[in-house]
């Protein structure tokens, strides 16, 4: 019982550390907008108007579905200290499985079965694309940031080739896949215009929260993430771990692509790339790699992105400005992390290995103040 106040304080500081960087980024982003001769207040007000009011909140939730699944995919990789930055290609490959093979499959197989097969296919496509980076990492320790990124560029090219070649809808002048029949799309949740993929995303977040924090597999992954050497010592097969973590991460990100097409997009154009993964990245860290804690943050970004498109048009900005805000959140996040680590407020959301040397300096202070 006596622990409750400190637990509350801990939770409050965790929330503060997640919110402060976002606020700072919005303020600095506003100053940049002002410097460009535009009106930041109008921009931000319009964002929330177009992202939340009326029926707009439903559009935000629709966007949230793929974003949340990607976020969980990134969390899995980062928990295992594997920097899977090939999310771009993995997402597009997952999407093209549904958009390219969906129309043909729905014609011959009953709907529910086809849906399951397609979504599994998306997951497999995403997972397959991580095999080479995982292999190189496991065998030679090659930096997976680079290999997964290069694979991502190749993946995007493969998707374009497929859409312009065998999967092209011949009746369309622009290269794109056949449009899925609206009856074949994921059904809406009762009474809303939000498709079932949103529920699926929430379930995935809950399941992975449980798996990562309550099962022996989750513990093994955390040990592996903290130190592959110690993992080997306690009998964890670290080579297998690299493949497994990478494949899980890629599968989730590919699945996100499938969900987005089957729930919302209904077809895929060549060169279509929404850059969801880039946007999700900071929120994954802000949530301290927790699949449940990331849900409200992703919800916030979904509103920002949904409202941002129209708000940007009306303020005379481009929607790419959201990239600047996302980048600013990342920067302020690390600064906030630095400051709070100094003040020893609690656990950190940065991967252990990378911040060990920073905290080493302040360890003695921490120990003294905890006493």
């Amino acid at each position: 019982m006596s622990e409750n106040p400190s637990k509350m304080a801990g939770a409050m500081s965790a929330v503060a550390r997640a919110v402060i960087p976002v606020i700072l980024a919005i303020v600095v982003g506003g100053i940049i907008i002002l410097a460009m001769g535009k009106d930041p207040i109008t921009f931000y007000v319009k964002i929330f108007q177009y992202g939340l009011t009326g029926t707009n909140w439903m559009r935000s939730l629709v966007l949230m579905a793929p974003l949340l699944v990607i976020a969980v995919g990134l969390i899995v990789a980062f928990r295992g200290q594997l920097w899977n930055l090939g999310y771009g290609g993995q997402f597009l490959l997952g999407a093209v499985v549904v958009s390219g093979f969906g129309p043909a499959l729905f014609a011959v197989v009953p709907g529910p079965l086809a849906t399951i097969v397609l979504l599994l296919g998306s997951a497999v496509a995403g997972a397959v694309w991580t095999v080479v980076p995982a292999l190189l990492k496991a065998r030679y320790g090659t930096n997976e940031i680079i290999t997964s990124l290069v694979m991502s560029f190749i993946g995007a090219g493969v998707v374009n080739l497929l859409i312009k070649g065998p999967l092209k809808d011949a009746s369309q002048p622009i290269p794109q896949t056949k449009v899925l029949d609206s009856a074949d799309m994921l059904p809406d949740i009762f009474g809303t215009k939000v498709h079932l993929g949103f529920l699926l995303a929430i379930v995935i977040a809950l399941v992975f929260q449980f798996v990562l924090s309550r099962t022996s597999f989750g513990l093994r992954m955390d040990v592996f993430g903290a130190s592959a050497k110690s993992a080997n010592h306690v009998g964890i097969n670290s080579t297998g771990m690299v493949f497994l973590v990478f494949a899980l991460s890629g599968a989730l990100i590919g699945l996100a692509g499938g969900i987005d097409v089957l729930g919302h997009e209904s077809y895929q154009r060549a060169n279509w790339d929404p850059h969801y993964g880039d946007a999700v990245m900071p929120f994954v860290f802000l949530a301290r790699l927790s699949p449940v804690a990331v849900v409200p943050l992703i919800g916030f970004y979904s509103v920002l992105a949904t409202g941002g498109i129209l708000a940007a048009q009306q303020t005379g900005l481009n929607v790419d400005f959201l990239l600047v805000i996302v980048g600013l959140i990342l920067i302020f996040m690390t600064i906030t992390e630095f400051v709070t680590t100094r003040r020893a407020l609690g656990q950190s959301y940065m991967p252990v290995g990378l911040k060990r040397s920073v905290t080493g300096l302040f360890d003695s202070i921490t120990r003294r103040s905890n006493r």
């Binding site: 930096n143 600064i335 300096l361």
Partner: protein
């Protein structure tokens, strides 16, 4: 195909295309090499290149002078790397996260600014004045392709040679490598890890900006949003494969340039590959190289690890 290979106009165009594609990459990779040798992983190259490209484009567009554009582009690179200097070197924050942030901000801000100012006009810069080297420029094919490049080309080559020499032969180069190999030894020898790494980060930024500027001013003669398109990441790959040797950086960059030129040339032949294959080709070559030579990629032991005196 064979008559095409003997065609001097084609050969000249081929060499020019290969050089044009490899120079921005080489410049960025040299910068990345200095940074990585000193123990700082600069994942923001992509964004810094875009910032350098955009500022160089705007400057040259308004002044009409390519040299001023080049200078401003590389200064913009230095300025954008100040973020990394403060956050990564001085405060020891996560280099991967900050690098990604710089890339995202660079992509976002250049795209927004370009679309705001030039979307309707999409102006080009024209061709930079060429600098003909007497006698050599008279050689058939090679003379026209190599010895009639712009002065900027020769300036960049000179810079590369100077940096290679400084890294290998000077005390400064030794300090740089010590900061990446074993920072505590540099500290013990009386050097300052922070100062050496700070210099390395700023120089890396200057080179990334220079690479971007070259891309905008010489290679494409214009700016388009997201024009760097992964070249920054290829620069990091090349840095890893070259193990800190500038000559290898130059050679692998040239190999990349040749791949790009081959892709373009294949479009002229009966093969007529789709444009997407040509865009993918360099990345596929990079990936194959990584698969084949992964065993030989060596990064400095202290890469991406902030230095704290006395920490174990």
């Amino acid at each position: 195909m064979s008559d095409l290979l003997l065609n001097p106009t084609f050969l000249t165009a081929f060499i020019v295309a290969a050089i044009a594609a490899s120079m921005p990459l080489m410049l960025a990779a040299i910068g990345e090499t200095i940074g990585e040798q000193a123990g700082v992983l600069n994942l923001g190259v992509e964004g810094i290149m875009l910032i350098g490209a955009y500022t160089a484009f705007v400057t040259t567009l308004s002044t009409g002078n390519f040299w001023v554009g080049l200078l401003v582009g590389s200064l913009a690179g230095v300025l954008s790397s100040v973020v990394m200097l403060v956050l990564n070197v001085w405060l020891g924050l996560n280099q991967i996260v900050i690098g990604l942030a710089v890339t995202l901000i660079g992509e976002g801000i250049t795209s927004v600014l370009y679309l705001q100012n030039f979307a309707k006009t999409s102006p080009g810069l024209g061709v930079a004045p060429s600098f003909d080297i007497p006698l050599l420029s008279g050689i058939p094919v090679v003379g026209k392709a190599v010895f009639q490049q712009s002065g900027i080309f020769w300036f960049c080559i000179l810079l590369a040679v100077v940096v290679a020499w400084m890294l290998i032969k000077t005390n400064w180069g030794l300090s740089i490598r010590a900061a990446g190999q074993k920072p505590s030894s540099l500290d013990a020898a009386g050097g300052s890890v922070t100062r050496v790494r700070s210099q390395a980060v700023l120089i890396a930024g200057a080179f990334a900006g220079l690479g971007g500027a070259y891309l905008a001013l010489i290679t494409t003669s214009t700016f388009t949003p997201f024009m760097v398109n992964g070249l920054g990441y290829v620069a990091i790959v090349i840095t890893m494969l070259s193990r800190g040797r500038v000559l290898w950086v130059a050679l692998t960059s040239l190999l990349y340039g040749v791949t790009v030129a081959v892709g373009t040339a294949l479009q002229l032949t009966a093969l007529s590959l789709p444009a997407d294959v040509i865009k993918m080709l360099p990345f596929i070559v990079v990936m194959i190289t990584l698969v084949l030579f992964s065993r030989t990629t060596v990064v400095p032991p202290a890469l991406a690890a902030p230095y704290t005196r006395g920490a174990r």
